[in-house]
């Protein structure tokens, strides 16, 4: 909530007491960022825009192909919806668990489970769902035996909505983990004060609770969006690329055994960067508006 408080002073780092020490500990981080974020990104751009004969727009231009556009649309849709699911379900779950009067054991149970589940992804997660909700999964077969044919109702594990359910398995716990500190920072005095002034519960949330939480909710949403946007192993194992997603397309041209095109892969990754930049820009725009009051 104290955006801006950590803004560095106008004096150079070295001029400040402990500045040298700070540099000593910061430079490995900077080196790390340079080696594993900045340089690879530059390499990526170089690859995406370089053909056999110098600079080219060819590979980036290929992003306009129908199948590529479908992959981007699917990826964005899946990420947006699964992030929303995580935001709502995880946010409410965290709120109710943190409410006064809830047994402390429940809280530690939920946080422990969340910490584990948020990191359960990839092929094991996919297989867990295939073995339960797949077309021959245990639950699917059991439901059929009691007369409910899940797949006859149109449900497909290997569809966008199916993938949303699977993604929720790591999105919801991640939301619980990241939003808990923000919820804990909501002081009960604020609520008491609002109630003393005659606010109903809805009034409190509308005018106090949500505005305070909004920046945290927004950044949590971005985190969940990015988390889903880059997921690869899980959707591939579940759908074999039937649901076209950008990370799967990238793997097809980079590490597949059928076709090989580093440039196309780099162009697709470049497209993903653009999407994330747009999302982050929107975030910056909105959060500046909603957080305006906190700077006063």
């Amino acid at each position: 909530m104290n955006r801006g408080a950590a803004r560095p002073g106008s004096a150079g780092l070295l001029a400040r007491p402990g500045g040298a020490l700070t540099l000593l500990f910061v430079w490995p981080f900077l080196l790390y960022v340079c080696a594993f974020l900045i340089l690879p990104t530059l390499m990526l751009l170089a690859t995406a825009f370089r053909g056999g004969h110098g600079a080219t727009w060819h590979y980036v231009g290929e992003l306009g192909q129908t199948q590529t556009l479908i992959a981007f649309r699917n990826s964005i849709e899946l990420s947006a919806v699964s992030a929303l699911a995580g935001l709502v379900i995880g946010g409410l779950a965290a709120y109710f668990v943190l409410r006064p009067g809830m047994p402390g054991g429940l809280r530690s149970l939920v946080t422990t489970f969340s910490a584990v589940a948020a990191n359960f992804a990839g092929v094991p997660l996919a297989f867990a769902f295939i073995a339960t909700l797949g077309s021959l999964g245990v639950i699917t077969v059991w439901l059929k035996s009691i007369g409910v044919d899940l797949y006859a109702t149109g449900f497909r594990l290997y569809s966008i909505s199916g993938l949303v359910i699977v993604y929720a398995y790591f999105q919801v716990p991640l939301m619980i983990i990241v939003i808990t500190p923000a919820l804990q920072a909501l002081r009960s005095e604020w609520r008491e004060a609002a109630e003393n002034l005659g606010a109903s519960s809805a009034d409190y949330w509308r005018h106090v609770g949500l505005p305070i939480l909004l920046p945290s909710l927004l950044s949590a949403y971005i985190l969940l969006f990015g988390n889903a946007f880059s997921a690869y192993a899980t959707p591939y194992a579940i759908s074999s690329g039937i649901v076209a997603l950008v990370p799967v397309e990238i793997s097809n041209v980079l590490s597949g055994n059928v076709m090989l095109s580093r440039q196309t892969g780099a162009a697709l990754a470049f497209g993903m960067i653009i999407v994330m930049v747009v999302v982050m820009a929107l975030y910056a725009l909105i959060s500046r508006r909603v957080a305006r009051w906190s700077r006063r």
């Binding site: 092929v123 797949g134 039937i242 597949g256 055994n257």
Partner: protein
């Protein structure tokens, strides 16, 4: 192509490689005397032993029985084999020939996919050699001057978990039956996984398409998806054995090896589909032009292409190139034959050329996700 990913052999071949003819080396009998370096040739063995070692690369011990092949070779000739980077890919094999030329640890012989054999030959990375059994290698699977020669191949097959699929499907048409609802799976996307790509090719050949036209195969899988029979889950050994993907279209040697591994746990049948020309892919041997142990490399090739070496491949369920010849001469034991699918389809397999593969990839990229909707 890659050995690292045991489920993805290549689906590319040579322009003129259309079939593996049973009597592949028809008129070459006259020339037999010309390539007379026999495995029993004492001079070669002596020269190889004098070199004392053999450098191989990218041969995983559990792939095509290479573990046993290497140890048998070492025991037989007392030449130690240094197998570098067992999980490297074909591309990396060629790269090590290039980058380690002139060094004692450079590879002597490589085992690469056909498209990489073509690249290696055109870059002058190989030296020609013709093994004693050269004539019985099908013409379509070797370079005429001996720069490279196919060693083993596989066919697209159905791996069937019989505890879930009570009757095994015998043909591509069978897979449309309601009995296989939600059961038919590939090992990944045909845009990324070699065996899945090959499965669509094979389905195309069986449904009015050809090596030059993969679209009927895409239509076939689109139909399976509409019927609800296609299960888009990426099949793995685990999903086949546990029954989540009871019918997996995959290479025969992988299905056969899985069947052997899960014996006593679950019955897995390997069916090469009937009623259509089977689709296959093969690997190639080549001796490096800069081989530090050229004689040992020649002896290694003689060993691999002898009946003994070829049968060792077969024991790892990879069909050796001289399979048809050996069946004809009856040198494969009944017990081993009983573990394999019937031999007939192996004599008529179709292999795609590089150009055909490229065309199929483009058609797949444009149509697969658009047409196949589960």
């Amino acid at each position: 192509m890659t050995h690292a990913n045991t489920t993805h052999p290549p689906a590319v071949g040579r322009r003129d490689l259309m079939r593996l003819a049973a009597a592949g080396a028809g008129g070459a009998l006259l020339a037999r005397a010309a390539h007379a370096t026999s495995a029993s040739d004492a001079a070669l063995i002596k020269a190889a032993k004098a070199e004392g070692a053999l450098n191989t690369i990218a041969l995983p011990p559990d792939w095509a029985n290479y573990g046993v092949i290497i140890s048998t070779f070492q025991k037989k000739y007392g030449i130690s084999v240094h197998n570098a980077a067992p999980d490297d890919s074909s591309a990396q094999e060629l790269q090590s020939i290039r980058s380690m030329r002139g060094q004692a640890r450079g590879p002597d012989a490589v085992d690469v996919g056909p498209s990489f054999a073509l690249i290696g030959a055109s870059e002058g990375l190989f030296q020609p050699y013709k093994v004693a059994t050269w004539d019985s290698i099908p013409v379509a699977m070797k370079e005429a001057s001996g720069l490279w020669y196919g060693d083993y191949f596989g066919l697209i097959s159905f791996g069937v978990n019989r505890s879930v699929a009570k009757t095994a499907p015998m043909s591509w048409a069978d897979l449309r039956k309601p009995a296989y609802k939600g059961m038919v799976a590939l090992n990944g996307s045909p845009l990324g996984a070699g065996a899945a790509f090959a499965a669509v090719m094979a389905a195309s050949i069986a449904n009015g398409g050809s090596l030059d036209d993969i679209v009927p195969g895409i239509q076939y899988f689109a139909e399976l998806a509409r019927l609800g029979n296609f299960n888009p889950t990426s099949a793995t050994a685990a999903s086949l054995v546990s029954g989540q993907t009871p019918v997996v279209v995959n290479w025969d040697y992988l299905n056969l090896a899985q069947a052997k591994k899960s014996k006593g746990m679950v019955q897995i049948d390997t069916i090469v589909p009937e009623g259509a020309k089977p689709y296959g892919a093969f690997y190639c041997q080549a001796i490096s032009r800069f081989a530090p142990h050229p004689k040992a490399a020649q002896l290694w090739e003689e060993f691999l292409y002898s009946d003994q070496g070829q049968i060792l491949f077969l024991e790892g369920f990879a069909h050796p190139v001289r399979f048809a010849d050996m069946v004809k001469r009856g040198v494969i034991s009944k017990k081993l034959m009983a573990e394999l699918p019937p031999p007939a389809p192996y004599a008529e397999a179709a292999f795609a050329s590089s150009a055909e593969s490229k065309k199929a990839q483009a058609a797949l990229a444009a149509n697969w996700t658009k047409m196949v909707k589960a």
